[in-house]
Structure formats: C-alpha cells, structure tokens
C-alpha cells in the first residue's frame, strides 16, 4: 500500500523544545525514526514523553524545533490538520465518543476522513462509508459490539475502538500513548497482538510503561529522562545500559508535565 523506500524516515524531530514556565518539559530533542519499524519511547514519569506526543500532534505548540512526518513538515499545524496529514494517535486515558455506538464512533472518523460534510444527506446512506466502517470494526475485532454504546464496552474493547478511530484516516504514522496502561493480562495480550498486526503496514511509535510489552514488541527504543533523550537502541542494548538503569532505579522521580 505504501511506497516507502528501505531507509525512509517515518518521523523526524529536530531541536524540539517546549517550556512550561521554568520547566523544560521537552528539551531540544532530535531524532529520526526509520519507517517500517515499531519504535517505542520509554522513560520515568515526567520524562516528557506525552508532551512530545502532544507537540507532534499539534495539541501543544513548540517553543522551538520542527516535526517532519514522511518528509512533510507539520510543525505549527492544528491537530485536525495533522490528522489529515495521516498522523493518528491514541491517548493514555482512552478517548472515544462514549455516548455513541461502536459503529457510530467509527463512522464519525471515516466520514471526517472522507471529507463528508453534507448537511442534508443521511449519514447512514453512504455505502462506501458503511463498508469501510464494517471493515475497520472487524479489523479490531469489535464486530459483535457494532451497536453497543462505547460507554458500555469493557476497558480493553474501548482501547480497541480507539485504535479503530485512529486507523480511520489511513495513518502513515500511528502514535500510541500507553496502549496497555490499566489492562489485565488478557486485555494486554489482545491489544499487543493488534498493535503487532497494525505495525506491519503502519509506522507505529508507542509510549509504554510496561517494560515486558516494550521489550517484547519494539524494534527500537528511545529512553527519555527529564525532557531529553538519554539512550537509544535495540531492546537488548537498552536493557544492558547503565544510564538507563540509573534513570529508572537510581534517580528519584520528579513530577512534571
């Protein structure tokens, strides 16, 4: 589906900086993430991981630096414009349209992606949209819950629904913020399986605290601490890095944004 050369860059961040008052949440961060890899960002609480995601998706504007996705500079665009540039994300606290059914949730995302805004035609009358909705719901395995209200889903299924919403814009880059946070072992396994599957066709970057998950699925890991990149490497390299061990075990955790 995608036309990506072997050494293409999925996400390039250059000199990205964000200050909140006196605190530098993201401090001159630069990295290139190769395409077709499952990249993970780890780090202690307050390392700046979520702020980094917020900067990439335009929810927070950087004080300095650029964000380039698949060669396209998206710095300074608004969140909904960045979504149109085929960047999607999920949130640490699962975020769906809880008063709508699973089908309506996904239909919303698909219709917006298709640029449909007609104020008169029935939203359910677009057969191409209906097919795509069915396919996406099926892809995340929620077909039996098509007509269930999102608020009535189990936590793990809400996470899957959120992934379906994130896939609706046919993303080239998918950012997952703690996808298995708060899940039991079974739900974790279900979600990890889904992420692995998605990563075959979409460039995935995930933030995760569950080290078992990260080391199991990531091709490459970036370790952040205090707003900066501390280390980078394969799971094997990271697990043996003394600097990383110190960040996790030695240094006291600091509260930050």
């Amino acid at each position: 589906m995608r036309d990506v050369s072997e050494n293409a860059i999925a996400l390039s961040v250059n000199g990205l900086t964000r200050r909140f008052g006196g605190l530098v949440a993201v401090d001159n961060v630069s990295f290139d993430l190769p395409a077709r890899r499952l990249n993970a960002i780890i780090g202690p609480n307050g390392a700046g991981k979520t702020t980094l995601f917020n900067l990439i998706t335009g929810e927070i504007h950087p004080n300095a630096g650029r964000v380039v996705v698949h060669g396209q500079d998206i710095t300074g665009l608004k969140p909904h414009q960045i979504v149109r540039n085929r960047v999607s994300r999920t949130l640490q606290i699962k975020s769906v349209f809880s008063g709508l059914s699973v089908g309506e949730n996904v239909r919303t995302a698909v219709m917006v992606h298709e640029g449909l805004v007609s104020p008169f035609r029935s939203a359910t009358s677009y057969s191409a949209v209906n097919n795509r909705v069915a396919a996406l719901v099926d892809q995340v395995g929620l077909t039996p819950h098509m007509h269930t209200l999102a608020s009535a889903l189990s936590y793990g299924d809400v996470a899957l629904l959120e992934i379906a919403l994130a896939l609706a814009n046919e993303p080239q880059l998918l950012l997952l913020d703690e996808p298995v946070c708060g899940m039991g072992p079974q739900e974790t396994e279900q979600t990890v399986r889904k992420i692995r599957e998605i990563a075959k066709t979409v460039d995935v970057v995930l933030i995760e605290h569950d080290m078992e998950v990260v080391f199991a699925i990531a091709d490459e890991i970036i370790v952040m601490a205090q707003g900066a990149i501390l280390a980078r490497g394969t799971p094997a390299e990271i697990s043996s890095s003394p600097a990383v061990q110190e960040a996790y075990l030695g240094a006291p955790e600091e509260a930050d944004l």
């Binding site: 979504v83 149109r84 975020s95 769906v96 008063g99 309506e104 995302a109 104020p119």
Partner: protein
C-alpha cells in the same frame, strides 16, 4: 412491536392531532387554545435552538433570546419600512438572526462551558440595552406594532393571518419545515460532526474535525432557529419589542429544552408545550405559577434527567422489554440510536 414502530405510530397520531387543532379545539374548549397551540409551536423553535447547541454540540447558551429578538425585529422592520410580505419578513428575520449569530458566534464558540454561557448572556444583554435605547427604530420596551401582511395573495384568493385557522396552519407549516430541516441536518454527516464534538471535543479534533468551525456552524444554525421563532412571534402578535431580548426569555427556553429532553429532536416541543399549558391553566387561578414550573423542572432534572423525551424512550424500552443499548441493535441503519441521537425519540409523545 418494536420501539421504532411504536414511535412511528405515536408520531402519526401526534401529527394528526396538530393538524386537527383548529377543527377540534372549538368543539371542546375556547378557540383561545388554538392560539396557545400556535404559541407553543413558535416558542418550541426557540427551545429547539437551545437544544441544537446543548443537545447536539454540547454548548449551553443563555443568550438565544438575542436571536429571537433579531428575528422579531427583522420581520417587523422589513414589513414596516420595506413593505415586505409574510415570507419576505420571515426570511429577513431568519437571515438577520443568522448574521447576528455569525458575528457573536465568531467570539463565543472559542469558549466552552460556563465561559460560553456567560458570553452568550453578555452579548444578549448588550444588544438588549442597545435595542432599548434605539427607541426611534425599535420602540424600546413599548415595541412597535404593524399590520400583518397576507400569507398568500393570488388573484381573488387571499389568505390572511387575521383568520385564526390560516394563522395556525401557516405557523404549523413553518415550524414543521424547521423541524424537518433540523432533523435532516442532525442525521447528516454534518450532524455526525456535531455529536462528535458534543461527546468528546479532543477526540473530535484527533479524528480530523475542526471543532471551532463545527461549533460555529451549529451556533449560526441555532441563531436561524431562534430567528424563525422570533419572526413567527412577531407576525403572531403583529408586534416586536426589545423586552423579548431579555435573558429571562433565554432562560425560559433553556428550561423548556431541558424539561423536554435535550438531544431529542422534538423534546423541546413537548417541554414548551407542557410548561406553556401549565402556565395558562395555573396562572388563571394562582399568580405564583412559576413555583409550579420550578418544582416541576427540579423533579424532571432529578427523576428524568433526559427529560420527557428520555422518559418516553425508557418507557418504550420497558414496553419492548429490551435494555436501551440493545434495543438499538435490530433497528434499520437509519435509526441506530445512541441515547442522544434523535431517531429513537423523534416521534415521542401522544
């Protein structure tokens, strides 16, 4: 019988009842009640404009009386100064209200929650006082009156608002058209965006919705509904007055919408209907009828938080013995019903 078919049957009965009002009411009661029915239809559109904002995009406006007032003056002034007819006056009233909403909304929808509620009040107060002081144009709180133009003049056939039945059917026609349009919009892809913004504005932005623009469109459309209400009320009373721009009018519309049920297409019609009829009945025997309205509103909010429409939906669900979430499953694609989509209850109420 499924919930959808009961709803459909109830709607047919209700529509027939509305059509029968001018014929049946004089047999049962004073023809005065035909005018009350007309008034309910008119005011329900103001409540519907609150509903469009609160029930479909999640914005609580306490300033819809402003657009009602602009609609009122748009109709009255265009008849008085430009010799507009009924339809021209109605159109100008609606357009004027939408224009006003387009101006106020460009600022207001940047805010949400109480900030939004406050700024809508502030806008309506500013324009209320402006209208009061522009007495030569608006007549201030005395208002201005005018002779109602014909609804239709074609050769020898002249339909005049002076005829009570003609007036009622004209109002019914316009109000029904407004609800039909409203229903069309909230079921459309645009309506899908509205509800996404209501449910979760952050996620809405993260699926690519321009949240500001979506709220803005809803605000302008709601202004149009309030404007239609105001223009109709001007023709109904042959009168326009700045007093109708005061915020207690806005507040009343919010109460009607909440009692009727927000997020339900016809909810505000039933809220306005119930409370206006109560007012008419009780105020003849007890001047403090507002106590009853207040008590009733508190009861509805406590025991039927989704209003009359929600209570109707719960009743249907109980009758068809399926919990609400599952009840939506077997309905046709056009009617899959989340609690806040209008389809399941669009037809509530006999």
């Amino acid at each position: 019988m499924t919930a959808a078919s009961i709803s459909r049957a109830a709607f047919v009965v209700f529509a027939a009842a509305l059509l029968a009002v001018p014929t049946v009411i004089p047999m049962l009661a004073s023809p005065f009640w035909i005018d009350i029915a007309a008034e309910i239809l008119i005011w329900s559109l103001l409540a519907a404009s609150v509903n469009l904002l609160l029930g479909y995009v999640g914005l609580l406006s306490f300033g819809q009386a402003l657009y009602f007032g602009v609609g009122m003056y748009g109709a009255a002034l265009s008849v008085i100064h430009w010799g507009a007819g009924f339809w021209g006056g109605l159109a100008l009233g609606i357009l004027g209200a939408m224009l006003m909403a387009a101006i106020a909304g460009s600022v207001a929808v940047r805010l949400t929650w109480h900030y939004f509620a406050i700024i809508t009040v502030v806008f309506s107060l500013i324009l209320y006082f402006a209208a009061l002081s522009a007495k030569p144009l608006t007549g201030g709180d005395d208002g201005i009156s005018f002779g109602a133009p014909d609804v239709l003049a074609f050769g020898d056939v002249r339909l005049s608002l002076a005829n009570q039945a003609v007036q009622y059917y004209t109002i019914l026609l316009v109000v029904a058209a407004c609800y039909a349009l409203f229903g069309l919009v909230v079921r459309s892809p645009l309506g899908v965006r509205f509800m996404a913004v209501r449910e979760n504005d952050r996620r809405a932005a993260l699926v690519g919705i321009n949240v500001y623009l979506t709220r803005y469109l809803a605000f302008v459309l709601a202004g149009g509904l309030a404007g239609a209400s105001g223009a109709l009320f001007a023709f109904f009373g042959r009168y326009a007055s700045a007093t109708y721009m005061f915020y207690h009018v806005s507040g009343e519309a919010v109460v009607w919408a909440i009692v009727g049920g927000t997020g339900a297409l016809l909810g505000p019609l039933f809220g306005a209907g119930l409370l206006i009829i109560l007012r008419e009945v009780i105020s003849t025997v007890w001047e403090h009828y507002l106590f009853v309205v207040g008590a009733l509103t508190i009861l509805v909010v406590m025991f039927a938080p989704r209003g009359l429409a929600g209570a109707w939906r719960d009743l249907l669900a109980a009758m068809t013995r399926r919990p609400p979430a599952v009840a939506a499953a077997p309905s046709p694609p056009g009617t899959d019903a989340a609690p806040s989509t209008p389809s399941a209850n669009a037809t509530q109420g006999d």
